[in-house]
Symmetry: C2
Subunit: 341 residues, 2 copies
Amino acid sequence: MQSTIKVLVWGMGAMGGGICRMVMDKPGLELVAAVAATPAKAGRDVGDVLEFGYKTGVMVTNDAREAFDRSRPDVAILATKSFISETLDETITAIQAGAHVVSIAEEMADPWAQHPGLADRIHQAARGKGVTVLGTGVNPGFVLDVLIICLSGACVSVDKITARRVNDLSPFGPTVMKTQGVGTRPEEFQAGVKNGSIVGHVGFPESINLIARALGWTLDRVEQQKEPIISSVRRQTKYVTVEPGWVAGCRHTASGYAGGHELIRLEHPQQVLPELEGVATGDYISIEGTPRIDMAIKPEIPGGLGTIATAVNMVPLVVAAQPGLLTMVDLPVPRAMPGKR
Amino acid sequence: MQSTIKVLVWGMGAMGGGICRMVMDKPGLELVAAVAATPAKAGRDVGDVLEFGYKTGVMVTNDAREAFDRSRPDVAILATKSFISETLDETITAIQAGAHVVSIAEEMADPWAQHPGLADRIHQAARGKGVTVLGTGVNPGFVLDVLIICLSGACVSVDKITARRVNDLSPFGPTVMKTQGVGTRPEEFQAGVKNGSIVGHVGFPESINLIARALGWTLDRVEQQKEPIISSVRRQTKYVTVEPGWVAGCRHTASGYAGGHELIRLEHPQQVLPELEGVATGDYISIEGTPRIDMAIKPEIPGGLGTIATAVNMVPLVVAAQPGLLTMVDLPVPRAMPGKR
C-alpha cells in the first residue's frame, strides 16, 4: 500500500459513476481509466459524464482492451451487470490484462454457489496471471453474509441464523419498479415471478453459501420464495403509484436447510414507502446460539453507497491478497479507506 | 484445517475453563494439555477441575514446559492475565515450544499501542519460529474495534466514530467490584482511581490504535477518563450493596484525537444493575460518515462467552496465517467454528 494503486472502472452507471468519484477522493488510489458500454459517453471526460463541474483528465472509452493497454491498471473494478455469465468476458479480459479484479456482480460474491465450473475457470485464469479476483457489494457481500459471519465469531456455538434487510425502493426508477413488481396487481405479480420478469433480490444463494462455508456447515438445499407485499394504503413515489390492494414490492426470502432443519433464513422485503404501514427500514441479524446475538442497524445501510464503498474499500486488501478467485471471507476484515485530510 | 488442531490451554480460571470446554466441543480441535498456576488444580483431570461430571483424560499441570514438551500443541491459548508485561514469559515460552499463540491478555489485542518494544520482540521471536501470535477477546478484540472497523467497510468516508458498550456487572464477584469501584463512596472512588486500585476497563488504547491503524488514521493523542457512576437508587447484588449517592460503577471513556478533533470516542460504563435507572445494556456503534451507520446489539454480547468464543474461533485462522505477531485486523473476518452435529 506504499504507492498509489491505479484503478480502471468498467461501467459508468449509478454504481460505476459513484465508484469513480470515490476512487478519485482516496489519496491511495488513482483513477486511470473509465470504460462505458454506452457510445454516447465515449470520448468525454469522466468529470463531464458524471457532472462533477470540473475535468478529471480521464476520458471515458468504449474500448476496454485499449483502456487496459494504455492505462495498465493494478485493479479493475467491474460495475456492469449482476450475473456471472454476463460479466465473464469482462472478468477474463481484466485478468488477461494482468489486473486484479473487484466485481460488484451479485453472483460473484460467491461464484461457487451457482456456477462452480465458471468459478474454477476464473480461479485458474487468475492464478495463472498472479492476480486476485473478488466479488463484493453491500448485499450480497456485506450485510446478509459478511456481517453475520463476523458476529458469529463471538459465539461459542450457533444453532440458527435469521437476518432481514428492510429497505425503501422510493428513490429508484422504472427498471427497479419492474424487477420488484412494484405497482402490479397481485395476479400480475405472480405471473411476473413465473415468467422471470420479477426477479426480486439477486444474491441469496451466494450469501447462504458464504455463511455455510465460513461456518463449516454442509447444507442439503437452499430454497427461495418471492411473495407480493400487498399494500393496504396508497403509496406514491415519483415513479409509481400503488393503490390499496396492489403490490408495493417483493418479499423475497431464502432458507438453507440441513437434515430437515432450517439453519439459515434470510429475508429481503423490497418495497416503496414501508413506513406508511409502520415498517421501519433496517438491517436486522439474529443469531440463535451461545450467546444469542440480536443486532439492528436502523435505518439500513443504503444499498448504493454501501456497494460503492465495499467495492473501493476492498481494493488495497485485494492487491495484498494471494492470487486466485477469493471471497469476502478469505480476506481481512473490511475497513474504510482513508480520505483526503 | 484438514486435521485436528492440538490445543494447550494455559490458565484455568473462568476464561481458561470455558475455553477448555469449548475446545472439547469442537470436532476440529483437540485439548491436549491444560496448565494452571494454582497448585491445588495440578494432577487432577480437567473434567474434575471444571466439574464436568466426567473425566477428559487430560490432567492439569503447573509445569508449562513439561506440558508443551509432552503434548506438542499446534496452538497455545493463553488465558492468565491482562498486561503484556505479565504474560510475556508465557508468550515466549509458547513460541519457543513452536506453538502458535492466541492470547486473551487485553494489551495483546494491539501490542504496539503501548508496548512497541515488547511487540517487536514477540514479533521477531514468532517469525523466528515460524508461528503466529494473536491477541483477541470480546473487548478489546471485537466489539469496540473489529466490529467498528468491519462496519466502516460499508462507508465511502468516515468522519467520526462513537461507540458505547453498556454492561451489567451483577454476576461478577468481589475482585471485579473492587477494580470497578462498585460500592464505594464518590471520594473513595476518586482516591481509588488515583492510586490505581480502580482500573476500569483495560484495552482502550489497544482498541483505538487498532481502529486508527485499520482506517489509516494518524492520531496525535489518546485520552482516557474514569468517572464514578453515582446511583440514585439502591442497587443490590449477591456481592455488593450500593446505596443512593454511592458509586454503582465506573464510566470509563477514551478518545482519539487528530489535529484537535476527536475522531474516535469509546465509552464503557461498567456498573451493577443499570436497568434500575432505565439504562439498557447493549453494544452501540455510530459511524458519522457517508453513509451514517447506527448499530445496536441489545443486550450486549456477554463478556465472558464472547471472549471464550473469539479466542477459540480464531484458532483455525491463526494456524493458517503468516508467521509473526498479528492483530485481528490482519486476519480474515472472524467466524464461529462448527460444533458437533
